[in-house]
């Protein structure tokens, strides 16, 4: 197991290196002068020059061969945009916003809890509804129940998330007025963040009203973001259940006269859940990227919304930092899913 973990983590190094390289290229192929692209008409010659200096745009892309030849020092060779960028990445320094001057890594740390809380709620929603629905469909295979559940699941992956979000707001916030349309808390609610997960913060500080307010704000975006994972969980649970129900040990359990409920819950479901858990884990990253759309519609102050605003403002350090951050989380979560898989199922040997 340890060997497997080490090897899996070591395998991440070339991928993460590639990711950083790709992002470096993407942000350097901006046609023309990136400084002008970012500041546009707003930039004076002074600010432009300052930005070029800060981003190191005056330096060569990869190697400073001329600098090396004239000075004769090896260090000079690596005084390039790429090495400055990599040095920052390794230190966790993602630069500063072009406009607001805030530190990108610092802001990511502050905003991540909002996105994380929303993602957790979406996954919770997907599992609580998806697993029973999938089991139900599997037990009623080929009936109208099965067909309806599967059609609904198929619809679930066909919704444009942002549109679903707008419709939910229109129905439940505007027309019915049951739930708040946007934000994480009401303006009147005062809550001193502790972990940044507001529901938890409310509990920890004993402010139950604040927790409840946070929950109300989470419901609509959670549903919007959780619909696609819900559909995937339903399909996965159903197919996994069908496979397990056909196994010998299930037939044995039935043959020895166990109640159907016990057969389903104890023998079948437990074994069927493994691939479902994997799918849920793997959809975590997809949720993080889906958050760009959901957070935009719900004015949710997380990473997605932040990156979206940065795109509109052409604030490249934020875009670059946000994308690298999400990719890093995604890759790490996938590795964790692999580890848990190996832990849960001893049949899997990773020699």
């Amino acid at each position: 197991m340890t060997a497997f973990v080490v090897r899996r983590l070591a395998g991440l190094v070339p991928v993460l290196f590639g990711v950083s390289l790709l992002i470096f290229f993407i942000t350097r192929i901006i046609p023309g002068d990136p400084a002008i692209a970012m500041l546009g008409e707003r930039g004076s010659e002074q600010t432009l020059e300052r930005l070029r200096e800060e981003l190191g745009l005056n330096r060569p892309l990869f190697f400073d061969a001329t600098g090396f030849r004239t000075s004769g020092r090896l260090v000079q060779l690596f005084d390039s945009q790429y090495f400055a960028y990599m040095k920052g990445l390794v230190r966790g320094d993602l630069g500063r916003s072009v406009f607001t001057r805030v530190d990108v890594s610092e802001s990511l740390r502050k905003r991540f809890p909002a996105t994380f809380e929303l993602t957790l709620v979406a996954m919770f929603f997907a599992m609580v509804l998806g697993i029973p629905a999938g089991v139900w469909a599997a037990l009623r295979r080929g009936t109208i129940v099965d067909t309806s559940v599967m059609l609904l699941a198929l619809s679930g992956v066909s919704f444009p998330v942002f549109w679903l979000a707008i419709m939910l707001i229109y129905l439940f916030a505007v027309t019915l007025g049951w739930l708040p349309p946007s934000g994480r808390l009401d303006v009147s609610t005062q809550l001193q963040p502790l972990t940044g997960l507001y529901v938890l913060d409310g509990v920890l500080r004993g402010q139950w009203a604040a927790s409840w307010d946070a929950i109300k704000h989470l419901i609509l975006p959670g549903i919007a973001l959780g619909t696609i994972p819900l559909a995937i969980v339903v399909r996965m649970t159903r197919s996994s259940m069908l496979e397990v129900l056909g196994q010998d040990y299930v037939r044995t359990a039935r043959a020895k006269g166990l109640e159907e409920r016990s057969v389903v819950n104890k023998h079948a479901l437990r074994n069927a859940l493994l691939p479902v858990v994997t799918v849920v884990g793997l959809s975590f990253g997809t949720l993080l990227s889906g958050a760009v759309l959901t957070e935009t519609v719900f004015s949710w102050p997380g990473i997605g919304r932040w990156v979206f605003d940065a795109i509109a403002a052409r604030d490249y350090p934020i875009i670059q930092g946000g994308v690298i951050f999400v990719a890093l989380i995604f890759v790490l979560v996938n590795a964790l899913v692999d580890f848990s898989y190996a832990l849960i199922d001893p049949r899997i040997q990773y020699g």
Binding site: G18, L151, P160, F162, Y170, V292, F330
Partner: protein, 291 residues
């Protein structure tokens, strides 16, 4: 007594698959939906020529759905029915082009990597792993954010995000067949790599590729709309569905119909592709039925 039926001629796999497809109600529903969208898109310029730049009627702003404007009008008085109809042309064209582009590039890379192996395989696998490190449309967002927002750049970006799946499929097929006897025989007969790849290996990958192609178009249509909604894809006044929902979102307290109808159009077209893709998979490869 049981009746024994014999076929005069053996049925081809294709005929067999076709027969099974036509017994699949959800697949037929998908086919009907897609046909509807395709035919509507093809007929649009003939029945109702449309020029988005000239279209405005300020006397009919934000009209709710009525007999005259069955989907209502937007803030410039544009008829939403006509715009949604023409929007289908954009979504289908861009979705299909992006997917076919990804299919061609991905299949080529997958075949080459699987067939030649070695450092080439390692390199391609590395590239794919890098692309897969960006979840969902994140990479597309990053690419378009840099290249600049436009429909063409959105198409390129979406295409890039779809390449990995095709590389994986063809690479897997190629690897499993590379050592098979008939490929070895072709080698022994002195066939060139190009011939082996295209005559012997590619046809075996066709079934999973076709299934993936159908399912990918749905995803691509969703991504085109998402980029349009974020302001990174098609630009106004183009009647692209995502852009229309973006316009509608700004007015959605006063004119919810502006976002409802383009959204429904996206939903139904994507449902169509998904139903069709699922059915084709069941028909072509029954082993995958419950996956």
């Amino acid at each position: 007594m049981r009746e024994v039926r014999t076929h005069e001629k053996g049925q081809s796999l294709f005929q067999d698959a076709l027969k099974r497809f036509f017994r699949n109600p959800t697949g037929l529903l998908g086919l009907a939906i897609i046909s509807f969208f395709v035919i509507a898109s093809l007929l649009a310029p003939i029945l109702r020529p449309y020029d988005a730049r000239r279209d405005r009627d300020l006397r009919a702003r934000l009209n709710p759905p009525s007999a005259e404007h069955i989907f209502g009008t937007d803030e410039l008085g544009r008829d939403l029915f006509v715009r949604v109809w023409h929007g289908g042309r954009i979504s289908l064209r861009v979705g299909l082009t992006a997917v076919v582009l990804a299919l061609v590039v991905g299949t080529f890379l997958g075949l080459v990597a699987g067939f030649f192996g070695g450092w080439l395989d390692m390199f391609v696998t590395w590239l794919v792993d890098i692309l897969l490190a960006f979840p969902g449309i994140l990479l597309a967002i990053a690419i378009v954010a840099t290249l600049g927002p436009s429909l063409r750049n959105a198409l390129i970006a979406i295409s890039v995000t779809q390449i990995p799946i095709y590389v994986r499929i063809t690479r897997a097929v190629t690897l499993s067949l590379r050592e098979s006897e008939y490929v070895q025989a072709a080698h022994a007969l002195g066939s060139r790599p190009g011939r082996i790849i295209f005559i012997h290996l590619l046809p075996n990958g066709l079934a999973p590729l076709i299934v993936q192609l159908t399912l990918s178009i749905g995803v691509a249509v969703l991504d085109v709309a998402a980029l349009g909604f974020l302001g990174l894809g098609a630009q106004p006044p183009d009647p692209e569905w995502g852009v229309m929902i973006r316009d509608g979102f700004r007015q959605f307290l006063r004119a919810p119909w502006m976002s409802i109808f383009p959204g429904l159009a996206i939903f139904f077209s994507v449902v169509g592709f998904n139903l069709l893709g699922d059915a084709i998979r069941d028909v072509i490869d029954p082993r995958l039925k419950n996956v």
